[in-house]
């Protein structure tokens, strides 16, 4: 039952990722991106990491993707639809793709025997991971957490300043 779910989610993720890239209509692309993110959230849930599952949904799908869809709709992009998307840069991009694939394959090949996942912990046995995530963030990794939040704050203020109408 468990592995069945896993295969379902992963196939869904890969399929919608491919669909997303190949879509002509921007909004369809966004919708498929959302399905990919939801599929990965499903995989988190499958690994008994409910907090990550929920955070993934709230953060990515509920937050960032909403802004994506906002931008897509505010700046009506029908204009860009008619441009030919696959431009002359085809040759260069294929080379880059091959190089990247080579790297990835080499990395997997070298570490192939240390890839096995740890034994899947019994469901109820682990401490509930909300507390564990909370402890990790606020106790052990306090400093990086604060730095990250300040970084985000700076980014937000930057965005606000830039978006302010030059009035």
């Amino acid at each position: 039952m468990n592995s069945l779910l896993f295969y379902f989610f992963s196939i869904l993720a890969i399929a919608s990722a491919i669909l997303m890239v190949t879509r002509r209509n921007i909004v369809h692309g966004a919708v498929f991106l959302i399905t990919t993110l939801l599929a990965t959230a499903g995989i988190f849930l499958q690994l008994q990491a409910e907090f990550l599952f929920v955070v993934q949904i709230i953060l990515y799908v509920g937050g960032i993707m909403v802004l994506f869809v906002f931008v897509i709709m505010l700046v009506n992009l029908d204009v860009s639809l008619h441009l030919v998307q696959f431009n002359r840069m085809k040759f260069v991009s294929t080379i880059l793709a091959v190089v990247l694939a080579g790297h990835l394959f080499a990395a997997f090949w070298i570490t192939r025997n240390s890839l096995n996942l740890g034994p899947r912990g019994e469901a109820m046995m682990q401490p509930r991971n909300t507390e564990s995530v909370g402890q990790a963030l606020f106790q052990n990794y306090m400093l990086p957490f604060e730095i990250a939040s300040i970084l985000l704050l700076v980014a937000m203020i930057g965005a606000v300043v830039m978006a302010k109408r030059k009035v």
Binding site: E50, V54, V61, F70
Partner: protein
């Protein structure tokens, strides 16, 4: 029954069963909430409301549903057919999905996730897509404008509502809905009395989140006509409508669980027994309520003008009697059944009380303008919610570290501080001026 189903599936039987019950009952529940809304609205406006279909309009929701089923289903040309179809479906599924974690009673809960509350928040935040994609797919400038406005409203008020929940969570200490209610039982007080400001912020946030007056701007803006729902008709529009009312019940359920003590009977820990039997006095309340309703129905039945209405009114009276009997019967049943039924009753009673507050607010307040709405959200509610979280957090820490014995005093202190902050934030609000001064003519 356990030995019949293989153990691996057995964990799924009960949730699926509850799921089916919820999905089946929800449209009916949403329909009757619509009827309740129209009746309450009529009552507040010195009129009668729907009276034609069935006695006192009791069959009105069924008539509405039938009408919507039969109505022609128009798809605007050049609309994005796929998105146009899946937007309302998305909106309804998100609303239904959120029921997975809602505890209708100690027994009747589809799945007790240990991130229950967060799960519901996440799912309801997905509801925005139903609206935004619907607005985009109807390919009309105005439904897009309406969709973007309602999405902006949802996003900004979700943060405020979320932060308000955080203040309640800190008291409960756990995300699982069952534990929250249990915490309120252990602490012997509903959280609404400990963090009233949090409850208020959540009330306002939830009204805005379900796009209801006085925040129902996107549909009611006079030049946006019906916002993102303009191009929808027939059953698709009914789906949106069902989504909205289901969301309303979800939001009411969260508030009930977190602030109003879920399925706890008022004064849950006050055990006094009715002359020596094992029945607690307060447990009789539901029975008395249903008996009163039955009496009222029977008193009304002969007064109905039409014969058929007399019968149906009598039937409704009978139904109330059955429920009253069920309630009393449950008193003598084993604990699990008693708790389950009474818990469900109290939970639904509180949910309906919360929804009644929604309706009440809708008919007394005019609509906010969009910029006022945004200003209220960002400049008043979110800072207030943030400060609320901080203040409640510090009082809890003080309470634990300094063995502060009387929680009620700390609750009053926190509320006082919060009201001070709220007054400060709302200071530039316009004070209403005195009535027209009259003077002698020239």
């Amino acid at each position: 029954m356990n030995h019949v189903i293989p153990p691996s599936i057995q964990a799924y039987v009960l949730p699926v069963l509850y799921g089916v019950v919820v999905v089946a009952l929800l449209p009916l529940l949403a329909g009757y909430i619509v009827l309740l809304e129209r009746k309450v609205m009529a009552d507040m406006q010195a009129r009668l409301g729907p009276m034609r279909v069935g006695p006192h309009g009791l069959l009105q929701p069924i008539a509405d549903a039938l009408k919507l089923l039969i109505k022609e289903d128009i798809v605007p040309e050049k609309a994005d057919r796929f998105l146009f179809w899946c937007a309302p479906v998305l909106s309804v599924t998100m609303a239904l999905l959120a029921y997975a974690a809602i505890p209708f009673g100690p027994v009747f809960q589809i799945a007790d996730l240990n991130v229950g509350l967060l799960f519901i928040l996440a799912i309801s935040s997905l509801g925005i897509y139903g609206i935004v994609l619907g607005g985009w797919a109807s390919n009309s400038h105005y439904s897009l404008l309406g969709a973007l406005r309602s999405a902006a409203q949802l996003v900004s008020y979700e943060t405020a509502a979320g932060l308000a929940l955080v203040s309640g969570l800190m008291l409960a200490g756990s995300l699982s809905m069952k534990d929250i209610v249990q915490a309120q039982y252990d602490q012997g007080v509903w959280f609404v009395f400990v963090v009233p400001v949090g409850f208020f912020i959540y009330l306002v946030g939830s009204i805005a989140e379900t796009n209801r007056a006085p925040f129902d701007l996107p549909e009611a803006e006079s030049e946006l006509v019906a916002g993102y729902m303009t191009e929808y008709s027939g059953f698709r529009w009914a789906l949106y409508f069902l989504g909205e009312y289901a969301n309303m019940v979800v939001v009411a359920a969260i508030a009930t669980t977190l602030f109003l003590g879920g399925w706890l009977r008022p004064f849950a820990r006050y055990q006094d027994h009715l002359f020596g039997t094992s029945i607690e006095l307060l447990d009789l309340l539901p029975t008395i309520l249903f008996l009163a309703a039955a009496a009222y129905c029977f008193w009304l039945a002969p007064r109905q003008p039409v014969q058929i209405q007399k019968i149906v009114m009598a039937l409704v009276g009978g139904l109330c009697l059955v429920l009253a009997a069920g309630m009393t019967g449950a008193l003598f049943a084993p604990d699990a059944v008693r708790l389950g039924i009474h818990g469900a009753f109290w939970f639904l009673a509180k949910v309906f009380a919360y929804i009644y507050a929604f309706l009440w607010i809708r008919f007394t307040f005019p609509r906010y303008r969009f910029d006022q709405l945004m200003r209220l959200g960002w400049r008043f509610l979110i800072p207030l919610a943030l400060v609320n979280v901080i203040v409640v957090g510090t009082t809890i820490v003080l309470q634990q570290n300094w063995e502060w014995r009387h929680p009620m005093l700390s609750a009053i202190v926190t509320t006082a501080i919060m009201l001070g902050v709220a007054a400060f934030l709302a200071r530039e609000g316009s004070a209403p001026s005195e009535p027209a001064e009259v003077g002698e003519g020239n």
